[in-house]
């Protein structure tokens, strides 16, 4: 059968999820049954992550017709029993965190509603305890990125203004906004909210954004770059900037225009 992958050159949203029963795509299939279709293992730039693309069946199709056509497919190719498959990526970290012994996975999709549906299905299917998610200590991330220059450079920081009537989010972007005087001036009256980071691995690069709730997003130009954002997650983990909690990051996506 022809390869059914529909990788899209567009923005992907992701969250990091942790649960003892979620260790592989096989576990996923065991939990979600017919909602999971074909899976394909992909190579990863980081050895500690296992990356797969799999089909997740949702109750409606989110792919634009032009996208399917460009992949040489039709809606019929993606449909089964009134469910429509979408390509979702899952990266599973094989090394439990030193901080708490938890394993974790990053799940990414170009369609936030697909991700929401997938997480809802998982929550219902996973045995107790409920899955947890990683939020990010963004103040710590700013400090780290201000001192780490080789593979990671922050090119945009967004602050949440506090107590300023009519002003909520302020972004600074450029070669090094973390070193600007305006960045320092905002500290007393604002709270770190999100960051955009240029991540370089060999001659591949990717621009990854993350907010403090744990939402990750990036533009995926080619499938071979899908694991690059994982190196940023590794950095956050090494610096103990990931915090486990029960709130899905998708519950706190902000309403800013560029989202």
């Amino acid at each position: 059968m022809a390869e059914l992958g529909v990788h899209e050159q567009r923005r992907y949203s992701a969250v990091t999820i942790s649960h003892p029963a979620l260790g592989s795509v096989k576990d996923l299939r065991g939990l979600l049954g017919r909602r999971i279709g074909k899976a394909k293992h992909l190579s990863s730039v980081t050895p500690n992550w296992t990356v797969d693309r799999f089909e997740f069946y949702a109750y409606r199709n989110f792919y634009p017709a032009t996208r399917l056509a460009a992949a040489g497919q039709s809606l019929h190719d993606r449909e089964r029993d009134n469910l429509y498959s979408h390509d979702v990526y899952i990266a599973i970290n094989g090394e439990p965190r030193a901080a708490d012994g938890h394993g974790y996975a990053v799940v990414a999709s170009p369609y936030v509603r697909v991700l929401v549906d997938l997480l809802r299905q998982l929550r219902d299917a996973l045995p107790a305890p409920a899955p947890q998610f990683f939020a990010i200590d963004m103040e710590g991330a700013y400090s780290t990125l201000a001192s780490v220059r080789d593979r990671f450079s922050a090119t945009k920081v967004t602050w949440q203004m506090l107590g300023d009537t009519g002003l909520e989010l302020v972004s600074l972007s450029g070669a090094s906004p973390l070193h600007s005087s305006l960045h320092n001036a905002l500290r007393g009256v604002a709270s770190p909210y999100s960051v955009r980071v240029e991540v370089r691995v060999s001659d591949l690069h990717c621009r990854v954004s993350a907010d403090r709730h744990g939402n990750l997003w990036w533009y995926l130009a080619a499938e071979d770059r899908v694991s690059i954002p994982l190196t940023f997650v590794d950095l956050l983990n090494e610096r103990r900037l990931l915090r486990l909690g029960r709130t899905s990051p998708l519950d706190r996506v902000d309403g800013a225009d560029d989202r």
Binding site: A135, L162, G163, G166, A256
Partner: protein, 655 residues
């Protein structure tokens, strides 16, 4: 949704247990006690007692974290049997047997301070079968007893009582509310200082002033004792072993209201800690004498405040990072006092226990009371007669001198503000006369001591009220008209005496809103603020309970004569607003008050994006920010079960 769990003593070794729709069902029985229980899930079923089982009563270290475990980690069958109470045993699980109770305990062990298991059969509990683990004291030290000698018989009695009350509070808080330990320590230190002063005064044959001082000191301890007994009663209600540590309030007599007191402390202590960190009072005390003077008289005509805009002594610019330590209030609920602040206590309406998720009884009103304490302390730094005699201030005022430093400038600015308010108040009855020019204010050339006393007595309250309102509007309500007006007018309109003085309340609200009006003349600012206030009041006009007050307020803004009367006062009020804006508002403090990494931005507003009935186990860093976020979803009035549940839920998120 709500049902009452009741117990009563029927035989020496057993007690009866039952469930009813009304609290009174159990209170007529011997040693009858009862408290309401709510299903933890917003869609859960009302509490029912099976024919046999094991009732698990859980006392959390943190209710929000415990509930997150119970509602997320044990499966839906268990979470459907979790119920909420107002007491220290905030979570009650209807277990099928002791083994199931033990599974819940094991899962939640890190978040438990204590628990009891009541195995029951046929509506009976054998006392000997109750399994109880009481909380361990978190106190690291014993609070020393204060020496009650050398302060007279009455004083000695009060000190003895204080020692006993504080020891009881220490016993309760160290086990059930360790976060209140700073209050215990502060009370001890404060009364220690007072007792020392009393002893000094008695030791040196005091004169009339000395006697007055000693009596005042003793009355402070009397008041503290009164407040402490209330706090001990409320915080100590529902301690283990239940059910015999009853609370003498019928509807909460079984489990008490301990968790609600903890939640109120969470809100208060966040406010108190933030203000203590910035220590504006201390900064004024330490630095004002050494800071340059500002021109208190440049805006005397109430036209041009630009001289103040360039002043570098705004409170945000003079804080020096030092903290002299917080002083505390004793927080407690009261149906008699409602929301009220005194030197030593902060009272919240009793209705908040079941209606804090309604606009009428919302807990943001605490901030207004807190601001009164802050502003009172601030003003006392300017006008403490032991530091600067009134004659010295008067002499500078009468020659229009702003003095040599910021303290002297603020003192004359204070007098200038009061004189303006007083003079305008005299004009109000004549406001209908078209010859009265309300755009400019003229103040008398010279004051004498008697006149100064008059203006201070009659206008210092209004001066402080305006500053309180400005700070409350900016710091707590983010300068948002709708939340601010809705909150304070929903709350005020229930107070019977407000209808007699609606004009006062309209005026204060206008002053607060004016701080966010575009720059302009007093007339322009007045018209802007009045228009905005009217818009917000119009949205409240159909609410039955507050109709009379709201309708009257709208009349005052729209009928020509009352509107003009308000405008006659306005330039004088604006002077105080500008004083607050330029010298008493600190944007960094504002930011610290609402800072919380849990918030996101939706529809241009900061929000926690949390729904009633969510149990995420998150520690809310800004209780004030959380309550403000909740405000938009509140019901207007108390009374619905949904509002009761939401009230319970939000309070438990804060502990």
């Amino acid at each position: 949704m709500k049902r009452y769990l009741g117990v009563w003593r029927n035989e020496p070794s057993t007690f009866g247990i039952g469930v009813a729709d009304q609290a009174t069902e159990f209170l007529s029985r011997p040693h009858g006690r009862t408290s309401p229980l709510y299903p933890a899930s917003a869609t859960g079923s009302p509490f029912k007692l099976p024919s046999d089982g094991a009732l698990l009563l859980l006392v959390p270290k943190s209710a929000t974290r415990l509930l997150a475990i119970l509602m997320n980690d044990l499966g839906s069958d268990t979470s459907a049997r979790v119920y909420l109470s107002h007491g220290h045993a905030a979570a009650v699980v209807n277990c099928s047997d002791i083994a199931e109770a033990r599974l819940c305990i094991d899962a939640a062990t890190d978040e438990l301070a204590a628990y009891e298991i009541w195995p029951h059969r046929a509506e009976r509990v054998q006392l000997t079968e109750i399994i109880a683990v009481e909380p361990i004291s978190a106190a690291s030290m014993q609070i020393p007893i204060l020496d009650s000698t050398g302060v007279g018989a009455d004083g000695g009695q009060q000190v003895s009582q204080f020692n006993a009350n504080l020891a009881l509070l220490q016993q309760i808080s160290s086990r059930y509310a360790p976060e209140m330990q700073p209050l215990v320590e502060w009370l001890h230190q404060s009364v220690d200082c007072i007792v020392e002063e009393m002893r000094e005064l008695r030791a040196h044959a005091p004169d009339a002033d000395g006697i007055r001082k000693a009596v005042t000191d003793e009355s402070v301890i009397v008041e503290l004792n009164a407040e402490l007994t209330l706090l001990c009663s409320q915080l100590g209600s529902g301690r283990l072993p239940l059910p015999w540590h009853g609370f003498p309030v019928g509807e909460y007599s079984l489990f008490g209201i301990g968790s609600m007191v903890r939640a109120s402390w969470s809100i208060y202590s966040h406010l108190n800690r933030t203000f203590a960190t910035f220590d504006h009072i201390g900064a004024v005390q330490r630095r004002y004498r050494a800071l340059p003077a500002f021109d208190a008289f440049a805006p005397s005509a109430r036209l041009d405040y630009s001289a103040w805009a360039s002043s570098a002594i705004g409170i945000g610019n003079i804080t020096d990072g030092r903290q002299e330590g917080a002083r505390y209030h004793i927080p407690r609920f009261s149906s008699r006092w409602g929301f009220h602040e005194s030197l030593h206590s902060l009272s919240m309406s009793w209705q908040c226990l079941y209606a804090s998720a309604s606009r009428e009884w919302n807990l943001l009103t605490i901030t207004h009371e807190f601001m009164h304490a802050h502003v009172r302390d601030l003003v006392s730094e300017f006008i403490d007669p032991s530091h600067t005699p009134p004659d010295a201030i008067l002499a500078r005022y009468n020659i229009r001198s702003s003095g040599d430093n910021a303290l002297e400038s603020m003192q004359v600015a204070y007098v200038e503000a009061l004189v303006g308010l007083y003079g305008s108040a005299l004009l109000v009855p004549k406001a209908a006369d078209p010859l009265v020019n309300a755009d400019r204010v003229s103040v008398p050339e010279r004051l004498d001591g008697q006149a100064l006393q008059t203006v201070v007595r009659s206008q210092s309250g209004l001066f402080q009220e305006i500053i309180v309102h400005v700070l409350d509007f900016l710091y707590v309500y983010d300068g948002r008209d709708s939340d601010y007006v809705n909150s304070i007018w929903s709350s005020w309109s229930l107070v019977p005496s407000v209808i007699e003085h609606v004009d006062h309340y309209v005026f204060r609200t206008l002053c607060a809103l004016a701080v966010e009006s575009p720059a302009g003349t007093s007339k322009q600012i007045f018209d802007d603020a009045a228009g905005r206030l009217r818009t917000q009041l119009e949205s409240l006009r159909d609410r039955d309970r507050i109709k009379p007050v709201i309708h009257r307020a709208i009349e005052l803004l729209t009928e020509p004569v009352p509107r003009r009367q308000l405008f006659v006062m306005f330039p004088a009020g604006r002077y105080v607003v500008e004083l607050a804006r330029h010298f008493f508002v600190d944007r960094s403090l504002n930011a610290a008050l609402v800072r919380d990494d849990l918030t996101t931005v939706r529809n241009g507003r900061r929000t926690y994006a949390t729904d009633v009935g969510d149990y995420r186990g998150e520690t809310i860093a800004s209780p004030i920010g959380f309550l403000l976020d909740r405000f938009a979803d509140y019901e207007d009035e108390a009374g619905s079960e949904e509002a009761e549940f939401a009230s319970m839920w939000q309070m438990l998120q804060l502990t």
